[in-house]
Structure formats: structure tokens, C-alpha cells
Symmetry: C3
Subunit: 456 residues, 3 copies
């Protein structure tokens, strides 16, 4: 196989074609939703609106900006931990997310906000587009270092489509609750990415372990990503919840779950090291599992202690996954998972789906109030709540199935030899796709070969 990594024509043409298509489709289909349309003033004068504050903008905009930070700074910097792949980590994430949000506005718009021939967009659409792209960022984590930017754009194109279909089935057809996206974003994104990584398996990659490890400062850059994800996760899980108590509760539950998760991640990280030392990989990743695992149930009456239990468990399971499951996946199942997304998004996402189903099963009007129960689930009786629990569980399985089937198809497409992928020895190296400062290109290589003995 001849590796041609010169993207001079392929990348520009891909980007420009996609963007031109987006412009045309936006021109035909996308308009402002009434809260963002200048006719708002006429509505106001007509007395249909009593105060500008009722504009959805003021309910959602602060959360939107927090989610936006998570997608671009959070996921972006989380992926800068490799010693020579920081440009790509943050840069390709930027590229795929910028494309993905536009494509998601269209697809989610057609499925959820299509009125008389037009998609009407407002701030909630922006949040949902960011959410959708979040699942692509998750999948990117498994592929980090091994794919070209063209492959990422193609993957985004398909994954956003599959995501929107899956989301439509869950939220609209089954009326599943999944405010923080444990199922639609994390479970789907993780197993999709892992399946693609399985298809794209590179058997000789482990010969060059060095570039897959961090350097001191790259680990600090990654902590920027971790902390912004951790801090803003309460906004992520509450951003599209119902106004008032649901949004409020989702933020509290996520705050609690994440705090508990940090303690158990640290505990396990130390306990699993022979000298009791902490591992930055666990601090950067497992501490976030609590946010994933509480996603579905965050807006429900999970209770603060319920959130702590969710965070407690997911911190433990996620750290165990990094230590035991990740090597197993690579050696036995031939799944190379660069960032360990299986441990941060995969298993915690499943925990989240199950937690949501269980919490829904116990929903009743004593806990929620009569109106609260209807508002939260559209339920009126005990019987309904077990039905809701079944639907929640079904949603989890559908997400997994969509991820596996979709991942195989998209993986096979990405395996085609003309997307500019790099040979094994150039994986995890920015110099393939980026102009890197000259003296560092020469200075880096000796370090790899002389200073660092191969790990056992």
C-alpha cells in the first residue's frame, strides 16, 4: 500500500464541497425561530409576550456557552496529551466540530423543527447541534493519532446522520428521557468510535509506543480540557431540560455525581499502582465518568445521594477499565482506543442508561407531585412508570445496535485507501499533516530513540 499523506487537493476540495452544500441547504431550509425573528416585536405589541425575558434565549444561553466551551476547549484540549499530537488533537477536533454543528442543525432540524418547509432555529438548536457533535468528539478519541482529517470529516458526515436518526427514534418515537445524553451521546458515540477503530485496526502500531505517551507539559494542557469539561458538565446535563426545577435539579445532581467521582477515581488510581502513585490518565479521564453516568437521570428525582452513588461507582469502574480493560481490548479484541473512551464514555454511558431506566421505574406522584410527574415523563400512573423504564432500556439497546452497525459501515468506508491516512510509523505525529517548527522536528526524534527506553 502506498501511503500518500499529501492532502493538498483532497482536504480543500472536501471542505469546500461540504461547506458549499451546507450553504445551499441552509439557503433552502433554515430560518429563524420566532424567538429569534424580528417579528417578535409585533408579537410583543400584540400582547402575546409580556416580557423580553420570556425569550428562550435567557433560559438557555448561559448553558449553551458552557456546552460550547466543553466541545471546543474541553474535548479539544483533553486530546492534547500526546507529546507530538497536540496540534492535531485540538485542531482536528475544531475542524470536525465546526463542520458537524452545521450538518447537525440541518438533520436535527428536519427531524424535530421542520415547519411548513422550513427549519426554524433558535438557541436550543445550537445546544443540540453541539450535543450531536459531542458524540463525534467522543468517537474521535478512539481514533486519535491514526486517521486523517479527511477521514474525520467523512466520519462526521455519517455519524451526525446516524446520531440524528438514533436520537429521533429514542426521543420522538419512544419518548425516552435522555437530557444529558448518556445513551444518545456517550454510549452511541463511544461504541460507534470503538467499532470504527476495530475496523481500522493497525496490528503494527504497538511497535512504536513512544509517541503514544505524554510529556510533562502535554499532560498539563490536557488538564485544561478535563477541568473545563468537569466544571461545565452541570450545564451539559441541564441545558435542554424543562425550564425551572428540572434544569435546576439536573445541575445539582451532576455537580454531586462529579464530585464523588473524583474521590473514587483518585482512590483506585493509587490503589492500582504498585507504589501507590497517581496516574494522570485516570485523573484526566475517570474523574469525568460521573458526569456521563448521571446524564440520563440528572433531571429526574434521583436525589443528591443517588447522584453520589452514581459518581462513586462510575469513578471506580472507569479507573478499573483504564487499568484492566483497555489493554485487554487492544490485545484480544484488536480495538485500539487511544484516549480510552470505552472507560470514560462507553461503560459510564451504559451505567447512565440503566440508572435512567431504574429511576424512571420508581417515579410516582408522591415523589414528583401530580403535575411534576406529567411534566417530567408525561406519566399519570404507576403502570406507566414501568412502561417508561422499559422504553428507557430499549433506548439503550437501540443506541448500542445503531453504534455497532453504523460503526462497521462507516469503518469500512474509512478503510478505503485514498483518504490520506498515515503509515503506522507516522501515527501520533503532527508533522504528517501540520507545518511544525523546524528545530523541533529535528530535536524531537533523537529523544524518542535514545532517552526513552521501551516500556516493558
Amino acid at each position: 500500500m502506498v501511503w500518500n499523506t499529501n492532502l493538498r487537493w483532497r482536504l480543500p476540495v472536501t471542505c469546500l464541497l461540504l461547506e458549499v452544500a451546507l450553504v445551499v441547504l441552509f439557503c433552502i431550509f433554515v430560518r429563524y425561530d420566532p424567538d429569534a425573528d424580528a417579528h417578535w416585536m409585533d408579537e410583543k405589541l400584540a400582547g402575546n409576550i409580556s416580557s423580553d425575558l420570556e425569550n428562550e434565549f435567557y433560559y438557555r444561553y448561559p448553558s449553551f456557552q458552557d456546552v460550547h466551551v466543553m466541545i471546543f476547549v474541553g474535548f479539544g484540549f483533553l486530546m492534547t496529551f500526546l507529546q507530538r499530537y497536540g496540534y492535531s488533537g485540538v485542531g482536528f477536533n475544531f475542524l470536525l466540530a465546526a463542520f458537524g454543528i452545521q450538518w447537525a442543525l440541518l438533520l436535527q432540524g428536519w427531524l424535530h423543527c421542520y415547519r411548513e418547509g422550513y427549519i426554524l432555529i433558535g438557541v436550543e438548536n445550537l445546544i443540540n447541534a453541539d450535543f450531536c457533535v459531542g458524540s463525534v468528539c467522543v468517537a474521535f478519541g478512539a481514533l486519535l493519532g491514526k486517521v486523517s482529517p479527511i477521514q474525520l470529516l467523512i466520519m462526521t458526515l455519517f455519524q451526525v446522520t446516524l446520531f440524528s436518526g438514533n436520537e429521533f427514534i429514542l426521543l420522538s418515537l419512544l419518548e425516552v428521557k435522555d437530557a444529558g445524553g448518556s445513551m444518545t451521546i456517550h454510549t452511541f458515540g463511544a461504541y460507534f468510535g470503538l467499532t470504527v477503530s476495530w475496523i481500522l485496526y493497525r496490528p503494527n502500531l504497538h511497535h512504536s509506543k513512544q509517541p503514544q505517551s505524554p510529556v510533562y507539559h502535554s499532560d498539563l494542557f490536557a488538564m485544561i480540557g478535563t477541568l473545563f469539561l468537569w466544571i461545565y458538565w452541570p450545564s451539559f446535563n441541564s441545558a435542554v431540560s424543562s425550564h425551572g426545577d428540572a434544569q435546576h435539579r439536573a445541575a445539582i445532581n451532576t455537580y454531586c455525581s462529579l464530585a464523588a467521582c473524583v474521590l473514587t477515581s483518585v482512590a483506585l488510581s493509587s490503589a492500582l499502582h504498585k507504589k501507590g502513585k497517581l496516574d494522570m490518565v485516570h485523573i484526566q479521564n475517570a474523574t469525568l465518568a460521573g458526569g456521563v453516568a448521571v446524564g440520563t437521570a440528572a433531571e429526574m428525582m434521583l436525589m443528591p445521594y443517588g447522584s453520589l452513588i452514581v459518581g462513586f461507582s462510575s469513578g471506580i469502574i472507569s479507573t478499573l477499565g483504564f487499568v484492566y480493560l483497555k489493554p485487554f481490548l487492544e490485545s484480544r479484541l484488536r480495538i485500539q482506543d487511544t484516549c480510552g473512551i470505552h472507560n470514560l464514555h462507553g461503560i459510564p454511558g451504559i451505567i447512565g442508561g440503566i440508572t435512567g431506566a431504574v429511576t424512571a421505574a420508581f417515579a410516582n406522584s408522591a415523589v414528583y407531585g401530580e403535575e411534576g410527574l406529567i411534566q417530567a415523563f408525561g406519566l399519570r400512573s404507576k403502570l406507566d412508570s414501568s412502561m417508561q423504564a422499559n422504553l428507557q432500556a430499549a433506548g439503550l439497546f437501540i443506541s448500542l445496535a445503531m453504534a455497532l452497525v453504523g460503526g462497521i459501515i462507516v469503518g469500512l468506508i474509512l478503510k478505503l485507501p485514498f483518504w490520506g491516512q498515515a503509515p503506522d510509523q507516522s501515527c501520533f505525529d503532527d508533522a504528517v499533516y501540520w507545518e511544525v517548527p523546524e528545530h523541533e522536528r529535528t530535536a524531537l526524534r533523537p529523544e524518542h530513540t535514545t532517552l526513552r527506553p521501551p516500556e516493558p
Copy 2:
């Protein structure tokens, strides 16, 4: 010319004199606006206010904090890309912005919020002060590495004054619309800074190319700046728009424009490199051009596809500017533009001004509604809208003229030899004005001379 870069007396005296003057002027002139004054409670009891939520604070504060992040973290870290000028990039930006916002509160206050002998300030004044300083940060980008902190303070003193005058002419006299400041902030700031840089031309600077290039990690620090600017730009363009739909729409348009801009910047960056590699300079800068270019029209009924087109074009033009125009400006016009502000703020600012004028020309009551049109422009007829378009265009020319004339005058003042400027061979080096860790002062120099061959 004797270069005395010891600022021991000059910098402290400048800072303290300016700050004492500010204290005195604030004492005489500045008070709280009614929304921030304790008499608010009396108003509320008197029935003039029905809810605390009507306080302007709740409409604007989240956007204010986002803008604040852009000015101090966004612009600050964007300027840390040079290998040995990170302290100055982020530190001098911090200094000039902290001074500038105080001075801007006064000047903008006198011109816009002067009531019965007092300037009454509230959260909107804080945003506008940040905006004003944004234009100084833009100008600083052209001068980065070549001026002393005293020169920057002097420049801020004058530029804030000129900015406020120009803003007053545009917004108050001509009633031009410019919510995101394409004209008042970006065009004015960029051409002001470029003119100053032209006056301060250093013909021998190109002999020492090395320190003007980044190192690997300095480029990642700069990406922190880029991403926070990119993420929060929807807040920047919507922060002072009218309540309700205008604010909402400005955020959506900016989100769309920026997303499109990323794809075309990446496309051009790759297409213009002989091996198709991406250049961090373009990713750090050109991806933001969409935010600048949509500034004026963001709150108008530009339509989402209109925003995509604006972002599409400005990403292309900005990247072309970095590749072809920047070297031309330096070699032929003797304008040294360290950060390439001409490509990020100058040309996109002009595009923004023109887009605003064109969008205003097409404003009518079918698109805006009767009341929406009055709210947006104060217009009642088709005739008015072409008048508005002409005023918008006039505003653009006035901003350019103010920038050029003001830049020449301020440039000549800054050329005076006693501001502590550094000799050519010490440009782009923190060690001139900062205490730098000892072992790095010695360790760095050999790297410059031995490891990095001079570029062709």
C-alpha cells in the same frame, strides 16, 4: 540612538499617574446607574419595577463575562505564540486592557451616559468598555514584540479617546448600527495599529527571524486564546443588542458564520502549502475572521445562510491575506504586522461594514415586521433603508479615516526616543522587560543560533 530599556522609574510613574488621575475623575464623575443603585428598592416598592429580573444585570451579565474572557484570556493567549514573548503577550495585554477599561468607562460615559453632571454606569458600560479595549488589543497585535509597556499605555490613552470619538460619531450622530463592532472595533483597531506600525517601522528586524517563530508548546498556548475567542464570539456580537430577538439572532448568526469560516480556513491553509500541510497561524487566526465579518450585520435579519456565506468568504480571504498580503505589506509597504491583524481584523472588518450596509439596504417590513423594523433601525419605509445603507457605508469610511489620521499622530508620539523601546536585536524577547528564569535565559540562546537554520 542609545537604547535605555530600564523602566524602573518611567513605568511606575506612568502607571501611578494614570491611576491617580482615574481615581480623581471617577470621584468627580462616576456614580451607579439606577439598576445598580440601592435606591432600586424604593423604585420597586413604588411599583415602578415589578420584578428584580427586569434589572439589566440579568439580560447582559452572562454575555459580559464572556466578553471579559475574550479580552483578557482570548486576546492575551492568542499573543503567546512567539517562543520567547509569552510573558509580554499575555502580561502587556493584561496591563493595557486594565487601564483601558477604566479610561473607556469615563470617555464613553461622558459621550453616552452623562446625566446631570454624573456618568451613571451599569453592566452595559462594562461591556462597552471591554469592547473599546478590544480595539486596542487588536492594534497591539500589529506591534507585538516591538514596543515597550509604556508605549502601550500611551497608545491606549490615545486610542481609547479616538475610539470613543469615532464611536460617538457613528452610533450617536449617524445612528449607524454596529452591534459587534466590525467597524468601530475591528476596522478602526486594525488600521490604527497598522498605521502606528508603519510609523514605527524597523528596517533591520528581518535579520533576526528566529524569535518571531513559535515553538511547539507556544502554539498550543495560543490555541487557548483562539478557542475562547471563537467560542464566546456569539456573546461578543450579541452583548449590547436589543433585548429579546435581536440578541438571540446575533448569537445564532455569529455561531453560523464562525463554523463556516473554520472549514474554508482549513481548506485554504492546506491548498496553499506545497505539501498540503496545515499552518497553525491560519488555524489560530483565520478561523476567527467569520466573527469579525458578521459583527455589524449579526443582529440584523441576515438569515443563517447569509451568515454562512459571510463566514465562508472571510475564511478564504483571511487565509489568502496571511499567505500573500502579509509578506507584501512588510516588504513593499514597510508595515510589520506581527500577528497579522490586517488579515484577521482589517479586511474582515471592512467586509463586515459592507455586509452591514447591504443587509440594511434590503431591510423592509416584510422581513422585520412593522414594529421590528422600527426597533431594529428606527426606519419606517423603503426609502429609509437605502438611507440607512448609505450611513452604514459612511460609518465605515469615517472609521478608516479616523484610524489612519489617528494612527499617524499616535505613531509619531510613540516614535519619541524616551519610552524605553528595545533595540532590534532584543525585539520579541521577554528578557528585556521581565525577570526570566535564569537557566532558560542561558539555555535558550544557543538553540536560536545552532539548532534552527535561518529560514530562506
Copy 3:
């Protein structure tokens, strides 16, 4: 003394025991406050609530997220300035804060929100928990590099308890005003931490000066912390103020004070260096003193010029403290203050307490309005306002006393030899508690001994 720094069993057991205890206590005691409870819908239908916007969530959530960034990114990255202690700086801060917020929710809940056997939590509790942990982060600054993570967890356990007691005395018993926590957070946290550091004095630490200094990029990482603290401080000081004008005013005053503080910090930093060079330590720390010093009075009618004067003074005093007081504390009083918290939180906190008392003394109905005065202080007459001033001063002394007594007790507990503390020669070195990239462990040491001459 045998130094056993292997935490393999001790750290996991400590973390897990603490977290299990928290889960049990949350299960027994913690429920949602009405604004976060699903019964909200019933309230709304019953007409007790007219709009979801009245939910406390919308008044406080944006400020909460800003404060959250300050605690985890702000304090975390501020402590990454040491060349080889970045993992610990940001990681241990993450650990202690995640534990502390859960423990604070309980303690502050029992003291302030205990209703019929339950603690009812909402967004304001989250903010107050973050505040409480802020005082632990402050104390951590004095101990940075010299304590184990177990010691930090033990300290957090006790300090949060003492903080809550002190806060209860001040805010509930004495009805002292301290919205931004100049007394309860900064003064208490700083003198508590300094007292603990005094008890834990390590006389031989100064022999190994090298690791206590930064490297170039570690200083830039620290600036991330500084800037996010600086930017979001207006939210910190206004987050729990009364709705409407008080919150609005607190943000304005803090903005003004911080801006002034930057100029005087820069002035003094340059004036106190023999070549007039700036010192990153001052830029990273003293520039924040204005936020601390205006904490108590920020929500009062301090006036913008009053804020400038507070910022002006505290920038000067803080920088002087770094230059003259810090070495004096270490050599004469045997207090080793790694981050210089005495200069950033200690003295400015006292200034803040005094400023609050003085401002309260001058409160009257001419300035505040009749209702405003009652709202702000619960006062009705001139006589009351001098009483309030005395109570404010008493609050400051009580905070100091609690800090000193508490610090001695906790210091003695932390001096016990089984917490896994490191020997002097391993202080300020991540490799004791963290898995550090192999080639950097070997590459770093020679640099210390050969490249860097010992400082005079």
C-alpha cells in the same frame, strides 16, 4: 524519621471512607430545595409562582459556573507555576475541592438550610460550598509542595468544619455582611494556612531552592489560573448578593477594583526591581488583591471611585508584601508560604474587612434610600450603622482568632508522622506521588544541578 511516601493503601482508604460517609449522610439528610424539586409544577399550577424565571436558578446559575471555574481552573492552574509540581498543583487542588464541596454542602446545610430534619439544597448552596472550598484552596497555597494528598484531605475535613462554624457566627449570629468573603474566605483561609505552615515548618527546605522556581512555560500555565480568577471575580463577589441592584453593584465594584489593582501591581513590580523588570510572581498574584480587598464592601454603596481606591492600595501593599514581607516571614517567623498567600489573601482580606466596616459606618438612608438601607443591612437609623460597623470589625477579629487557633490544632494533627509526607529533598517534586513520564524523570535532574546555578 522514616519517610514512607507510598500511599497505596492509605490514600485509597481515606478517599473511600470519606466518600462512603458522605453518601450515608447525604442519604439521611440531603433533599432538593423547592426550586429544584419536581413539586415546583404543583406550586406553579396553584398560582404561587407566575413564571419559571422566578426560579432561583436563573438568578444565580451563571455566577455559579463562573465561581466553579475559579475554584477548579483558577486556583488549580495558579498553582502550576512550579517547574515540577504542576500535576500536584492542579491535581491535588481538584481532589481537595471535590471532597470539600460535598462536606461543605452538609455542614453549611445543617447550619443554614436545615428544615424539618432535612437539608434542602439549591444553586445557592452550590455556590456557598464552592466559596467554602475557596478558603481551603487559599490555605493549600501556603503548603504547596510540602504536604501529601492525605494531609490535604484531612486538612479539608477540618478546615471546612471550622469555616462553617466561623461563617455561622459571622453571618447568622452577628449578622455581619461579607458577600465576597474578604473575612470568611480570604482572611480565615490565609491565616489558617499560614498557621498550619508555621507548625509544619521545614528548616532545611531552603537548601533546595531550584525546584521552587518556575520554568518559562509553567509561568504561562499559572497565568491561565490568574486570568480566570481575575475575570470571574466580579461573579465571585456578587454571586450570593441580594437580587437586583446589590448583585449588579457588586460586579461593578469588583471590576473597578481589579482594574486599578493591575496598574499599581505593575508599577510596584517594576519599581522594586533594580533594572525595572517585571516579575511574573507579582503579575500572577498581586493583580488579584483588588478582588479580595473589595469582597466585603462590593455589594455596598462603595462608589466606583471607592473601589478604585481599594484596588489601588491593595495592589501596592500586596506587591510590597511579596518583595519584603515574604522573605521576612520565612526567615524570622519560620512561616514558609509557597504561593505568597499572605500577600494575596491575608493582608488584602484584612483590608477588605476594614473597608467593609468603614463603608457600613457611613451607610445612611440618603445614600441607600429608606428601603435600600433595610434591604442592605436591616438598618433603620444612623445609630444602627455604627453598630453594624462594630459588628463588621468584630467579625474580622473572630475570623483571625478562629484561623489561628484552628490552624494550630490542625497543624499539630498534620504533623503526625503517618500521613505520607515527603522528605525535604523531595518537596516540590511530582515524582513522589505521581507517575511521571520516564524520560523526563531522568532528563530533569541534571538540569537542576548543572544548568541552574544556585541563586544568591
